[in-house]
Symmetry: C2
Subunit: 409 residues, 2 copies
């Protein structure tokens, strides 16, 4: 699949340095990779990891100065894949730029998918990941959908754990803080024909982050978007592809221009409620006839991102709310249903759910000229369930309670 | 919008060299850009172009060895944009890698759009672009849809003309050959928050290409895809975004695994015919009652790429076929309609249309277990209209006839 055409000096560097600046080659790695070039496709193998530590450690930012996804740790993890050889040696190197041919397919055809996950420091100082198996499974599903290579989940978890431990000093020992981890898989073939990439790069970068709501919850207001559609049946809206994100910005800006913090994605003539900005959406409804409380979220019908937080909220609610008489529903629900429930005082609360904020309480939703009230009192920034869910989730994430979802590294 | 966090040495280079390797800074450019950092947003300005010629010109490939999008010319055009300053000085430099922070938004959220256009050498040796204004207009529409900056079309055409002339030696003086130009616009902000990029890079690379069918037309067979959906009303399928391409590969591979060269995208329960692989789709039908011939293609309803070749075919057909009694239609048509017409001998031919091949004749379409015959005799590789359209288009593209669509550079 490689070009026979003589490339520039910058590009003629060894395979190992194809994506890292030419003045920083890792020679022994290059030689090993060349020697293996006729072997069969190799699986991802954490035992082959090489680590090059930085010689210029970064100063730590003050915790209060952290901004989501702006500051990064000293190191990154990088694993190249080629069609001929499979996964090459994993490498932890100093955080550095990628050097890529301008014809690389990630720039043209969006061969890219990613995950968002977090590492937490517990009260003993240990580092914990939250349900990393879910992120690995989703990344593999995303990769397969766009013809990128899949990998062994346990191998990548082990490698991410090593990166996390190496850069553990960046995780502040304060509640609400964590290390946001961003595994990213990109196609790296540098030809313009539209086809499955013959090479790829999986990298992981890490960004220390503070609490999403440093001074406590702050409820947001949404604008329901019906002029643009995020996802559709048979499409790729349930995968964590880069392709699903860039088209969301303009509707988000439109909502912001009218004073709403996020947009709410509706689907179809029925105006089904699907997602909030880049979060899953939950509502708490009271049944008109029986008064039974229901926690409802849209089903995984291919148009909804399969959120790890969404799944966790559902599981915890089934364990802890269902025994108290709650109904926990994954079902389609419409904006009209929310509006009616609101008018009748039966929309008790609503919130978005995602890795960044865990839950994001919603005050009101602008829809067809009306403002749908989501049940919060003027003095409240969160409903009871949103607050409970956040507490439950953090207790597990920070290891206050032992739970199989929290994995010490 | 920029991180206040100290970056690595590689990243602390001047703005001008942010995306080009650190050992190749263009000093005077950097200084100018800094000096302008408090001015208002500037428009793209071709008169500010700087040119750095390569010191190591590439040898030319033999024309017969050219593979689409694999070989590139000596130079590239690059124009950076920042929210603060607007479009910075355009630069033509040696073709070289881009050096990008791994947090750059193009890798995560698919902030990327592109164009495909060609430069042709005419019989006098002059170089001609084909309808470059259409490509510029579409690139601006694509950019605006994903919150990337727009630009002055005439400025970019002028800059592309300069790149084309500088690398004109790569365009073989043979019919069927051309220089494929790939303007690409990517978001370059290196933070993980999902929002409008505060910086971007527009670059143009050029690849000499040979005739799509070196030994004459070769008709393809298609598999109609109904398990995956390329585009949706209110989605972005009518824009030339990277996001629309990666999800197409698996359905294409599925079709190939069953012996079909391309897939045909259907839409909805009605199974409307939309696009062929990455081309627009045309069919020639004979009316059941009147016998009138109809050239039909799907309308621009937001689910169809607004192809420049599609538009050109329609215009030429309206000028040259309509006076002969043809009906030229942009309307919805279904797979069932094609299948019925085929059975009744009224599907005279079908073809895809796009920049790469101009037209790609279709022999048959696999749909729900049947093979829909598209009207070619076994010994034929093209219908009459596909062959005519190719001839008409090439006569204009290669300047055999003077036409406003063909622009000398």
């Amino acid at each position: 699949m490689r070009s026979a055409f003589p490339r520039t000096a910058l590009l003629s560097a060894s395979r190992a340095s194809r994506f890292l600046p030419a003045h920083r080659p890792v020679r022994f790695y290059s030689i090993k990779a060349e020697a293996a070039s006729h072997s069969k496709q190799r699986p991802m193998d954490a035992s082959r990891l090489t680590v090059e530590k930085t010689k210029t450690p970064k100063p730590l930012s003050k915790p209060e100065d952290l901004v989501f996804g702006k500051q990064f740790t000293d190191h990154m993890l990088a694993i190249e894949w080629t069609k001929e050889d499979g996964w090459l040696e994993p490498r932890i190197t100093p955080y550095q730029n990628l050097s890529l041919d301008p014809a690389t397919c990630v720039f043209h055809y969006a061969f890219e998918c990613f995950e968002g996950m977090k590492a937490y420091r517990d009260k003993n100082g240990d580092i914990r990941l939250f349900r990393p198996d879910k992120n690995m499974a989703r990344l593999n599903k995303s990769a397969a959908r766009i013809a990128l290579p899949t990998f062994e989940p346990t191998a990548l978890i082990e490698l991410i754990a090593k990166l996390t431990k190496l850069d553990a000093r960046f995780i502040p020992a304060h509640r609400g803080y964590s290390l946001y981890l961003r595994p990213t898989l990109i196609g790296t073939q540098s030809t313009l024909g539209v086809g499955a990439p013959g090479s790829a790069l999986l990298f992981v970068i890490a960004s220390p982050v503070g609490p999403y709501y440093p001074t406590g919850f702050k409820a947001v207001s949404l604008e329901a978007t019906n002029y643009a559609v995020r996802a559709w049946p048979g499409g790729v809206g349930d995968k964590k592809l880069g392709a699903n994100y860039a088209p969301c910005i303009v509707p988000q800006q439109e909502a912001a221009s009218r004073g709403f913090q996020q947009n709410l994605w509706l689907f179809g003539e029925e105006e089904y409620v699907t997602e909030v900005g880049t979060m899953n959406m939950f509502a708490v409804l009271k049944d008109k006839a029986t008064g039974q409380k229901e926690l409802v979220t849209a089903p995984l019908d291919g148009t909804i991102l399969e959120g790890v937080t969404r799944d966790s909220v559902l599981q915890l609610a089934r364990e802890r709310l269902a025994p108290e008489g709650w109904k926990i529903s994954e079902r389609k629900f419409t904006m009209r249903e929310l509006a009616e429930a609101s008018k009748e005082g039966r929309l008790l609360e609503a919130f978005g759910a995602g890795t960044a904020a865990i839950v994001s309480p919603i005050r009101k939703i602008s829809w067809k000229g009306e403002l749908v009230d989501c049940g919060l009192k003027e003095t409240e920034e969160s409903g009871e369930i949103a607050a409970k869910v956040k507490e439950w989730m953090e207790a597990i994430q920070y290891g206050d309670v032992e739970h199989e979802w929290s994995v010490k590294v």
